[in-house]
Amino acid sequence: MRTLETVLAEHPFFAGLEQRYLQIIVGCASNVVFEKGQIIFREGEEANRFYLIRQGRVALEVHAAGIGTLTIQTLDAGDILGWSWLVPPYRWHFDARAVELTRAIALDGECLRRKCEEDHDLGYELLKRFAEIITQRLQATRLQLLDVYGAEGHISRRGGT
């Protein structure tokens, strides 16, 4: 049977992380399962966890008056769900919903923050990894904001004149 430590070590987010840090982190980890359609967290709730998705798909959603619920991003196996646990005031900014049966490892944010305060090297390792993810998502968001597939994004050959 695979232990949580093994599963953590195999997840891309923790690739290359020293064994001693994995042993610390595993103390804050637990397996979780979300049924299709289940709300994982809601905007404004306390952000006290993050998730390593192992299987399934999660939609990040926002409710807009007059439009309805919009999906702004989906996350799949190998992705990280949530970083609001890392930054005060530790509140979720969006809703997260399992689009299909989703298995993940939940990491207790409060527990991790405490361990990072005790061991700044561990904190730095984690922050480096989160900074990379936050950067990727910021760049992706900028591309989405550019609305490159809109009519203005095309000129003659494929868009017509």
């Binding site: 999906t71 702004i72 017509g160 004149t161």
Partner: protein, 271 residues
């Protein structure tokens, strides 16, 4: 340089602002040969002429297909054409996708928006010669689920075991169960061997720039990445200079270029 008359068999509505013209020669000849990635100059008589990529099947030369979006005077007039109407066709022009060069390798096709139209002939070719290629992966990004082109065909291809199709949209209402996010986010986990992959990329230029970065990060060699460029083409044969890009005329030396060849030009803001 003289347009050949082609009769419209059918106008197929793809999305709210895109449509496909199905044309056949009106002069009695029975075929129109082209290579995947090439384009034609289409002339709506009395309105004007525009360059439009061929979106049909190169292994079926009896029907000529063009998919375009209604954005200007000519394409709006095109959208109003009916079966039996006649348009002028000059072409085929330009360089094709390097489908022969890709033989023996995995092929990853990255399309953005209506950029899927010029790539569809390449997909037809790859599937018609399936045993010559490794994995074939289509990564397609578009604005919303309502903007997805060739929906039925994509569903059919998706059901095939020898082709991977991944679609993502920039935004969706909560009923959509597929991916939401930019097309570049699909590249990291797409199933292809980066050391032996040829990538064909077509979409808005900014999307292609970020796609190339992501492909390179994944390990695909820039010499194995091909992009299809758009510039304002008029003559189609490299005479008028409208589509000049540095030392190239996109209509004649392109539209398909090896990324290596044009990388330095795409980074220049002055051209």
């Amino acid at each position: 340089m003289v347009p050949r008359p082609f009769r419209l068999r059918q106008v197929r509505r793809e999305t709210h602002d895109t449509f496909t013209l199905e044309l056949e020669p009106a002069d009695g000849s029975d075929s129109f040969c082209f290579r995947a990635g090439q384009f034609n100059m289409l002339y709506v008589f009395g309105v004007g002429e525009v360059p439009i990529s061929i979106s049909g099947n190169p292994t079926n030369p009896h029907v000529l297909m063009h998919t375009t979006r209604e954005v200007g005077t000519v394409t709006k007039a095109m959208g109003k054409l009916r079966s039996g109407d006649v348009v002028g066709v000059r072409g085929p022009f330009g360089t094709p996708w390097p489908v022969e060069h890709a033989e023996g390798a995995d092929v990853v096709i990255v399309a953005g928006g209506i950029g899927l139209a010029p790539l569809r002939p390449a997909l037809y070719h790859l599937l018609a010669h399936r045993d010559r290629y490794g994995k074939i992966v289509l990564l397609y990004g578009t604005r919303t689920p309502g903007d997805i082109l060739y929906r039925r065909e994509l569903q059919r291809w998706r059901a095939q075991f020898d082709l991977e199709v991944h679609i993502t949209v920039d935004r969706a209402l909560s009923g959509w169960r597929g991916n939401v996010g930019v097309v570049t986010s699909l590249i990291a986990r797409a199933p292809f061997d980066a050391r032996n992959t040829v990538a064909l990329v077509c979409g808005p230029e900014i999307m292609m720039r970020f796609t190339v970065l992501e492909l390179q990060r994944r390990g695909v060699s820039p010499s194995h990445i091909y992009v299809s460029l758009e510039r304002n083409m008029k003559c189609g044969v490299g005479m008028c200079g409208h589509c000049q890009l540095g030392p190239f005329f996109v209509c004649k030396d392109g539209p398909v270029f090896s990324y290596n060849k044009v990388q330095h030009l795409l980074e220049k803001r002055e051209i």
